[in-house]
Each structure stands twice: as structure tokens, then as C-alpha cells.
Symmetry: C2
């Protein structure tokens, strides 16, 4: 059965995914670790947004957020679509869920995922997607502090399994896009060990609506399952103050990436998005240390070897 | 006597100012709090840089840096001069000192200063400034956590005194530019309580070389004197953990400004500058808290009133 390509279906999926995700992680954390905030922003034609921000701050997840947002605007910013410049200036909608999880324990990686739908109105009925332009984007990536090969291989196996039904080229292609995107040029390092990243999934590049929407759901489910399994494996392990300090130092890099390079963050802040929701991706604590260069044989120095693209499968 | 307008004179002044500044602050801090790093970057025609980074990490200054750098390139980036687009692409030199000081005690403000000279080669002799295009830029600004009116008035009085010999319009003009520049749009707040900010000081806008260079020196001296006097007044005062936490929270805003908006930082990182020197402006620790809104009558809430432009004199 074909899914009716309408905005409400996607919205329902995204909201379910969001609460499912947060509930799963809340189940292993302390009670009352979740804050849910409904918000609205703007009430003019130019830009209108609403959303639900779910924040998790507990003993397992030091700071995490799953943010649903739905923005309607009367003029698509050129930065929203690199390959679709002819659509700039038209009415648009953007809807998605963004997740960043910063666990307390430095032995547990930080992780991020995003699934989103853009639609641009080229027809009188903005909600009938058959008659308008749409595309999906998203992905997930993992940022370990003390990387464990087994976990990373599992992470990429899961990513590959998620992509496999959609074609042999999908995993290698989206894996490469992930390595390219989550790259800190000024540090010459990747943000972490990668995963998947994609944008502009639509009919023109061979993705029917149904197929693309199914894929998006698969991406969300895979992220939840894979990351939860990695968190459960390590979150109760003892760690040292030195490891915690190193985690905070590396979180400085996460801040650098998000504020200097992340298109969603920079675009969101510049276009008048809801600052507190966008910056839920910031860690609770971060630190900087001048010219810190751990011994390449130390566990901290070993991380450098993981911050360049590598074939994991 | 006219100063000979040559690069070496400026360089000597900048290096003296840098070591004078760091020595002054080191005199009230613990021994061995200063790290001096000479560096070179690039050895090709496109971009060549060298510099001296002076880092101070002690009990009074948790993290501070005074960074001298001298960069030569074969093609001026368009972003280097907003008002001089016809010079883009020509050989250039940029030389300056940048200072950011993050004291340990939350009752002491953070402060920043910068003095810089750009020259663009339009003649065969790159070092004879009479025959090439040059301009000075710079300024200083203060970022208190627990603002004290008396200090801020003193800060602006010193700024005014520094500008006064150069014309009545200079202080109000450069003060306004400071308020405009150090503004976080996504937070709708200024970085702090301002000071001076200016760019493109040159003959075209009425500044002879001698006059501009004298002014730059005055700016450096005023900053050192005023900030040192504010630090000495407060650094030994007792403070609470709550005040320290608030300082770290506000330092998150400092990070946001520098990575999202600061032209020097963003330009420096994008153009292949020395990352560790550029990011000496980062605090040692910063934190983020979701939707933190202190009671407007609390000392923390009171800060909001100071984060909009105000006439202090």
C-alpha cells in the first residue's frame, strides 16, 4: 500500500519517533530527567514555526535533546537547497527531528541524528505533496571519546543494513557524504567516526516518495536501536577524572563544529529560529586547552587515528 | 617628529605592547603562569604567517592570551576589507595583537582588545607605506558577569579620554561601532558593555599615518591601564559557586559570539590561520543550560539590563 504523501503522515511519524526515542533513553535514566517544551515562534507571513523540544538531563545522559520543529516561510532561503536554486524565494515548509545526545560517562560516545522533509510550494495546495516539490534529508553520526573498534564496526554494519534495501551504492555514498560533512577543516579532523548523511532525496535522483519516507523511518529506527545498544553496553563502566576531562576537551570540538560549520545550526540561528531549541545540541560543559597534544600512544592520543575517514566494513 | 611609516616600527610597538601587557598581568599572578610560543605557518607564496602567542594561565587569569601575528599573502580576501573591494586579490600584509583575558574570579569581567594594521601592495616596495595602501583597525570591549556601574563608567571615561585628542566625534562613533559589532543577534544581546571598535582608519577618512599609529598606541595603553585597574580592584574578592557557575554559563555566550560572528576568528580559521592561536580566545571552561532565565531581580538576572547599548557618560 502506498503512503499518502501528505505532511500530516510525516508529522505523525516524526512525533512518534521523537517520543519513542526519548522514552527509550529515559527508561535507563533517573526519573524526572525529561523536560518537554512546546513552543511557537513568529506569527507573521514571513516565518512561522512551532515545535516540541524534549530535553533529557539525567545521570546517564548529561545533556541530550530531541527537537521536533515545523517551520513555514514565504520565501525559501538560497542556503536551504544547494542544488535547487530555482526554488529560492518560494513558499516552503521544513519539518524534522534533530537529536544530539551527550552522555555523562566519557566511555559512551556522543551521537547525533536528523531526519527532515523540505517542501516547496509550486501549486495552490501546499499540503498535497504530489503537486509540489519535496525532498528528504538526514543522517546520523557517532562521536566517541575512547573509540572501540567493535562498536564502530557494529555502527556501520547497522548503517549498511539500513541502506541495503535501497541499493548497493546507498551506504558507501551516504557514508562518504557523512565523512565529508562532519569535517573540521581548521583541525583537519572529522567530528567522529561517521555514519550516514544525505540530502535532496527525491524523485529526480531516483527516490519515490514512499521509498524515501520508508528510508527515513528506517534511518530513525536504526539510529535508536544502534545507539541505545552502545549506550547500554558502557554507561555503567567506571571511569577516571582524566577521562572525564578529556571528554570535556573533546566537547569543545563539538561546539566548534556546530557553531562554525553545521548548516542547520548556522542557518537556524541566522534565520530567526528558536535559539534555545537549536542550541540544545551544545554540551552541558565544554573546555579548551591551549595546544593540547596527547602522547600518540596514550588512549587520548589514539583518538586521532579515528578522526579521519576509514572503511569500517 | 614624524614617525617613519614603515612596517618595522609598527611591529616593534606591537611586540612591546604584547610583552608589556602580559608582564603586567603576570606580576599579580602565580609564577610560571605564562607560556610563550613562537610559531610559523606556511612557506609558500599564497600565505605565510609567523607570530608569538603569549598564553597566561594562572590563579588570577584562568585563561588569557595575547597573540601577535604577522601574515603575508599574495591575494587579499574580499572579507578583509568591506569598503575596499577594489583591493581584493592584491598582495597584502596583516599584523596585529589580539588579547582576550578570562579571569578566574566571576566578579572580574572578561576583556578583549585588538590592534591591527593591514597593508596592500600597490607599489614595488611592500614595506614603504607611503607608497602603498594601509589602514588600522582595532578596539576593546568589556564583558562583565556581575556588572558594576562605577567600573563601566570608568571604562568608558578612559575610552573617551583616549579618543578625545582625535576629535569630538571619535568616541561616540567608535563606541557605537562597538555596540553594533559585539552583538549576538540570536540572543538579542550585546556581548558585554562595549568600549571602542573601529576599522579602515586611513588617510581617506581623515587619519594621517602618524595620527592613526599614535591613536592605536593610545588604544593599547588605555586598555592595559583600564583593565588592569578593574582586575586589581576585584580579583581577591570572595565569590560563591553559584557565581562561578553563572560565569561559565555566560562564557558559553562568549564562545557563541566568537565562533558565529567574530570576523577575525571566522576569517582566521577559514583562511588557514594558526588554529591554536586564534582559539586562545576560548575560555578554559564554558557551559550551556537549556532555557535558563534567572529572576530579573537576581544579580544574574540584572545582567540582562546591561546587554543592550547604553550611554555611559
Amino acid at each position: 500500500m502506498m503512503t499518502t504523501p501528505c505532511i500530516e503522515n510525516i508529522k505523525n511519524y516524526l512525533l512518534n519517533f521523537q517520543s519513542n526515542f526519548i522514552n527509550t533513553f529515559a527508561s535507563i535514566d533517573n526519573p524526572e530527567c525529561v523536560i518537554i517544551d512546546k513552543w511557537k515562534k513568529g506569527n507573521h507571513e514571513k516565518l512561522n514555526g512551532n515545535g516540541i523540544s524534549s530535553l533529557i538531563e539525567g545521570e546517564v545522559i548529561e545533556r541530550g535533546g530531541a527537537n521536533f520543529s515545523h517551520v513555514k516561510g514565504n520565501s525559501l532561503p538560497p542556503s536551504a537547497s544547494i542544488i535547487r536554486s530555482e526554488l529560492a524565494g518560494k513558499p516552503f515548509q521544513a519539518m524534522g527531528v534533530s537529536i544530539v545526545m551527550h552522555p555523562y560517562n566519557p566511555l559512551v560516545p556522543t551521537a547525533h541524528a536528523n531526519v527532515r522533509l523540505f517542501t516547496v510550494q509550486t501549486n495552490d495546495n501546499p499540503d498535497d505533496l504530489n503537486k509540489n516539490v519535496w525532498w528528504f534529508g538526514g543522517g546520523f553520526d557517532l562521536t566517541p571519546y575512547y573509540p572501540i573498534d567493535e562498536d564502530i564496526i557494529y555502527w556501520h554494519q547497522q548503517a549498511q543494513k539500513c541502506c541495503q534495501p535501497y541499493g548497493e551504492h546507498v551506504y558507501p555514498d551516504f557514508k562518504k557524504q557523512c565523512d565529508d560533512y562532519f569535517y573540521l577543516k581548521h583541525r583537519d579532523e572529522t567530528r567522529g567516526v561517521g555514519g550516514l548523511f544525505f540530502d535532496d532525496l527525491n524523485t529526480e535522483c531516483g527516490w519515490e516518495f514512499d521509498q524515501a519516507f520508508n528510508f527515513i523511518q528506517q534511518v530513525g529506527n536504526t539510529f535508536l536501536e544502534s545507539y541505545f545498544s552502545i549506550v547500554k553496553k558502557h554507561y555503567q563502566k567506571p571511569f577516571t577524572q582524566q577521562q572525564k576531562d578529556f571528554q570535556l576537551y573533546r566537547r569543545g570540538r563539538y561546539v566548534e563544529f556546530n557553531l562554525l560549520y553545521d548548516r542547520g545550526t548556522v542557518f537556524g540561528l541566522q534565520s530567526g529560529g528558536r535559539t534555545e531549541s537549536i542550541l540544545m545540541s551544545m554540551p552541558k560543559h565544554a573546555s579548551w586547552q591551549y595546544n593540547y597534544q596527547p602522547d600518540s600512544n596514550s588512549p587520548e592520543g589514539r583518538l586521532n587515528d579515528y578522526l579521519k575517514p576509514r572503511e569500517w566494513l
